[in-house]
Symmetry: C2
């Protein structure tokens, strides 16, 4: 049975609220997911929260979340909008917030044969971009996202929110560049870099499965040493005054080109 | 000659800071642009600020901005990082901030023959999406962005920032749906809606110039009555668990399909 908590000083409320900070997420190995839609995506992907805070009972999807959370040993906590506001920091908080165990992000847990397409992000700093790329990857049938070097935290509230639940459906790995290269070259895989310095249009090559699409930092793009490790270096045409696209946009344009080639056969 | 201002109480500082609020932007017909990169894009597109605040003199691009701003009757104001922080509200403010006159956004100012491609957004609520779509439009050689119904303000700080200067290079119009339809049907133009309800894959049709790509609200998509006015209704394939893409991502995927068709033929 869910218990009721309405005190700001409750230690579970404090713990949940603390997970907005990266250092607390790291230390406790937990993160926050918000909203019935995202928590339902998570449940359908096999992820149930350790703690489930909710303010408005009665929705059948919520009932199911509560039942399954408790059946798996998690705790469901009925609370109010003020507490949810305190946890989320948002003026109009979602009516459901879950505290989840962070996933293992070792490269060795990825099965590259599980998908024809993977996304690799290097030093992406904007958590919104990380989440949006996860959402795009899910939509495009990618296997997951590999984070290279110092990326924003995929378990941050902003990233989880922008992913719209894809954080729970996509595989996520984190690795240093050297370790990623060793892993990549130990099997099949075409590494495709997008770069303003490339001479080849992104629609020119024939892409091969599994394709690893590599995107660089929002400001700096890919380091030249990383570009030179790519099997293909391609550019998206820039027809106006701008010299670059938003990183998540460039990723999506590349991803759908590869998907479209694979769909054609 | 630039004058120096270091007082928080200075009326120009107060006025500039006020432009973070939509109601002040509307009343004064002014908006903020931040950063040497964006202000230089603006200058190259023929837009100079009425007020130019800067904290670090000496960059040749800044010198040129100051000279041209003053030559056009604007005022250049040397100040410090604290004042720029106060104006922008950011912890690490850019070293240059401009106050610009907002553009006219009447549909009658658009010349549809100026570009083979236009983007039409309906009730987009996220200013970051508006800015990102402007940036994508610029990169893809679009003529501009037409905002239908209640969209976020394209002159908001978030939109200008996300546009990376494309706000100054793209045409921007705002209209009610009925007025847009009257204008559209008075000339050539193919209205292409993206919808989860469409049966036709987005790579199937042959697009015709000028193409008007219509995207709907982030949560609700396009209203059915709007979809039924489209010449083509297409869907981007969703191959995973997600049922939709981020609005700016979906726009970019559509836009580059049209661009790629036009490049081939």
């Amino acid at each position: 049975m869910p218990r009721q908590v309405t005190a700001f000083s409750n230690p579970l409320v404090k713990q949940a609220r603390g997970l907005r900070d990266k250092k607390n997420r790291r230390r406790e190995g937990l993160f926050l997911g918000e909203g019935l839609r995202i928590l339902t995506e998570a449940r359908e992907a096999g992820h149930l929260p350790e703690l489930l805070f909710y303010s408005e009972a009665g929705h059948p999807l919520l009932d199911r979340l509560i039942d399954e959370t408790e059946a798996k040993g998690g705790e469901a906590i009925e609370t109010n909008a003020d507490i949810l506001h305190k946890i989320s920091g948002k003026d109009n908080p979602q009516t459901v917030i879950g505290v989840y165990r962070a996933f293992e992000t070792g490269l060795d847990r990825l099965d590259r044969s599980a998908s024809p397409l993977w996304i690799v992000a290097q030093s992406l700093r904007d958590p919104g971009n990380i989440g949006t790329i996860l959402r795009t990857g899910d939509a495009a049938g990618a296997g997951g996202l590999i984070l290279i070097d110092d990326c924003a935290d995929p378990f941050s509230v902003e990233a989880v929110r922008a992913s719209m639940g894809a954080l729970f459906t996509q595989r996520i790995a984190a690795a240093r560049w050297e370790d990623f290269l060793l892993w990549l070259r130990a099997g099949k895989g075409q590494l495709i870099g997008t770069s303003l310095n490339a001479s080849q249009d992104y629609q020119q090559p024939l892409y091969a499965s599994p394709a690893f699409i590599l995107v660089g930092n929002e400001q700096a793009g890919l380091p030249p040493a990383y570009e030179s490790e790519c099997d293909l270096l391609v550019k998206i045409p820039m027809l106006g005054k701008a010299d670059s696209l938003n990183a998540a946009i460039a990723t999506a344009v590349m991803v759908y080109e590869v998907v479209n080639q694979f769909r054609r056969g």
